[in-house]
């Protein structure tokens, strides 16, 4: 069973030999960039550079997937925002949105969303990167991609302070905007699927319960995640939420994605109490405090803890921070390979 079969079969609920070690979030590394002599700020705008570096994670440390893109601006840019790739900055920075399209509460229901959003901005470029990856390593590893959840996307299109306040004060208004945005997300996700993505991670990172109450999550976040997921029934999806998620595990389960990915703050045992052992749960190796700054032995410990905590595949808890040492990333994939089958809670219960 190769990596691709392992990843896809598990997502589809079929038998696999062990948990996989992969991700649904950015997987580029500085080592991968250096290998090709690419500058991070330029990779986002070039399909070949994107595909080369995404594939390098499999080649350098045995990651069982390749993922594009690396930034979080794809949808906002396609809708009409302007992105800043920080080309003039020496240090490594992820792109951000510098010009928003919705400037006031009144514009929430009126700002235009282009019908052909899936062929705008860099969507075609990321589709091309997916095709290049499928041709390069697609027979061995799974090729994944991600889209933002509608709420997180809304936070890039308008002032986030206002969005938060309105989600409490005028949920109907926010729901109307998110409903429109979920259509755009669905179109873009379908384009990425049609380009050959084996799975799609839905990242609703702006809506953690560190900032929003479970009540608002249920009322304002959940319906749109559900809508996106239901429209993507023909491709495996994984729902990833950052921060504390224990209070909303049941809501996440109801979204109905093929798997749920949680980060380090999640108490895995408590999660299983809430949602049982049936749903696939991925996670939750700290992407910075373990993968970047700790030693390989600590990585091994963290991976074992995630396995023993009932993770069905091992995912970093966020984008891999590019400077993560290759020894650490190797320790992560090697530990899963070595102990995954033996420690897999699903098989040992």
């Amino acid at each position: 069973m190769n990596a691709k079969e392992r990843v896809i079969n598990q997502l589809l609920g079929k038998e696999v030999d062990r948990p996989a070690c992969y991700s649904g979030m950015g997987n580029v590394t500085t080592a991968g960039l250096e290998q090709f002599g690419y500058k991070f700020a330029r990779v986002h705008g070039d399909a070949k550079m994107m595909a080369d570096t995404a594939a390098s994670s499999h080649k350098l440390f045995g990651f069982e997937c390749a993922i594009v893109p690396y930034d979080l601006c794809l949808e906002a840019e396609a809708i009409g925002c302007v992105m800043n790739p920080y080309e003039q900055v020496d240090q490594l920075l992820y792109p951000t949105i510098k010009e928003k399209v919705c400037h006031s509460e009144d514009e929430m229901e009126t700002f235009p969303i282009p019908d052909d959003v899936a062929s705008r901005g860099r969507v075609p470029l990321v589709c091309e990167a997916i095709r290049l990856l499928q041709a390069d390593i697609g027979s061995e590893v799974a090729i994944g991609t991600y889209v933002l959840g509608p709420f997180t996307l809304a936070g890039q299109l308008m002032d986030l302070n206002d969005l938060f306040k309105l989600s409490f004060k005028s949920p109907a208004k926010v729901n109307a905007m998110l409903d429109r945005l979920s259509e755009a997300t669905i179109k873009i996700a379908r384009a990425l699927r049609d380009a050959g993505a084996d799975y799609i991670c839905i990242r609703e990172m702006g809506a953690t319960t560190d900032v929003l109450s479970p009540k608002v999550f249920q009322k304002v976040i959940f319906p749109h995640l559900k809508k996106v997921r239901d429209a993507l029934a023909d491709v495996p999806t994984i729902l990833h939420i950052c921060g504390g998620t224990n209070k909303i595990m049941n809501i996440l389960k109801d979204v109905g994605c093929n798997a749920i990915s949680v980060e380090t703050k999640n108490d895995l045992a408590k999660s299983r109490e809430d949602i049982g052992y049936e749903p696939l749960l991925f996670g939750n190796v700290d992407a910075y405090n373990i993968l970047v700054t700790a030693a390989p032995e600590d990585v091994e410990k963290a991976v074992l803890a995630a396995l023993e905590g009932s993770c069905d595949s091992i995912w970093p808890s966020c984008d891999i921070w590019p400077t993560a040492p290759i020894e650490n990333l190797k320790a992560m994939t090697e530990t899963v390979k070595k102990y995954g089958a033996e420690k897999w809670v699903r098989k040992n219960r």
């Binding site: 240090q91 929003l212 921060g243 921070w321 400077t323």
Partner: protein, 207 residues
């Protein structure tokens, strides 16, 4: 004086109930009744914000509610602050520089911490979000601020913090630096040479 007590209670309740109009009305009443502006701010508005902080820690309310309470508090502060008697030392407890580091456009946490410094009587130099390293250093040199607060909401941007801390300390070894934001923790703060770490806005105010 029961009237004073009622007005202070109304200021507090207005903040806790996110009711800007109630706070504005009570602030004007306080001035009309000759209540000391500083007393109205601290025993009214700040008391409300403290209650909000308590409810936030209990996870009874979340960030949207806190932002709404902050709006109500500022609605009162804008009316009352001009009437505060200047203190001997120029009326401020000190200067604070705040900003969200470059690459990060999430400023909610920073705004809430800013509010705590505002009500505590500090003069806040707010650099906003996505702030390049050089701007922190330049502003520190220009204002000679005692404290610089750095915020980052994402793992991908907090890694720029050690560099800013190093450069700030190089230019002015006496400057105190406090860091905060979702991915930051106490260990990282000490590892990177920061003087303080604030888990949330309540703790930042105590610093």
């Amino acid at each position: 004086m029961s009237n004073e007590k009622e007005i202070l209670q109304k200021l507090r309740d207005g903040v806790v109930e996110y009711d800007n109009d109630m706070v504005i009305e009570a602030s004007n009443e306080a001035l009309a009744q000759g209540i000391d502006a500083e007393k109205a701010i601290f025993d009214g508005l700040v008391a409300g914000i403290e209650e909000i902080g308590r409810l936030y820690e209990l996870e009874e309310i979340f960030v949207p509610e806190m932002l709404l309470a902050a709006d109500a508090m500022y609605a009162g502060l804008n009316i009352l602050k001009p009437h505060m008697e200047k203190k001997g030392d120029g009326g401020t407890k000190g200067h604070v520089i705040m900003g969200v580091v470059q690459g990060d456009v999430h400023d909610i946490g920073k705004n809430i911490v800013k509010m705590m410094f505002d009500v505590a009587g500090f003069e806040v130099h707010d650099l906003g979000r996505d702030v390049p390293l050089e701007d922190f250093i330049e502003e520190q040199l220009n204002t000679n601020s005692d404290l610089v607060c750095l915020s980052a909401m994402m793992t991908t941007t907090m890694v720029g913090m050690p560099e800013i801390i190093r450069k700030l300390k190089e230019k002015n070894p006496k400057v105190k630096i406090m860091i905060g934001g979702a991915p930051v923790n106490e260990n990282l703060a000490s590892q990177w040479g920061a003087d303080g770490y604030a888990k949330d806005a309540n703790n930042a105010g105590c610093y």
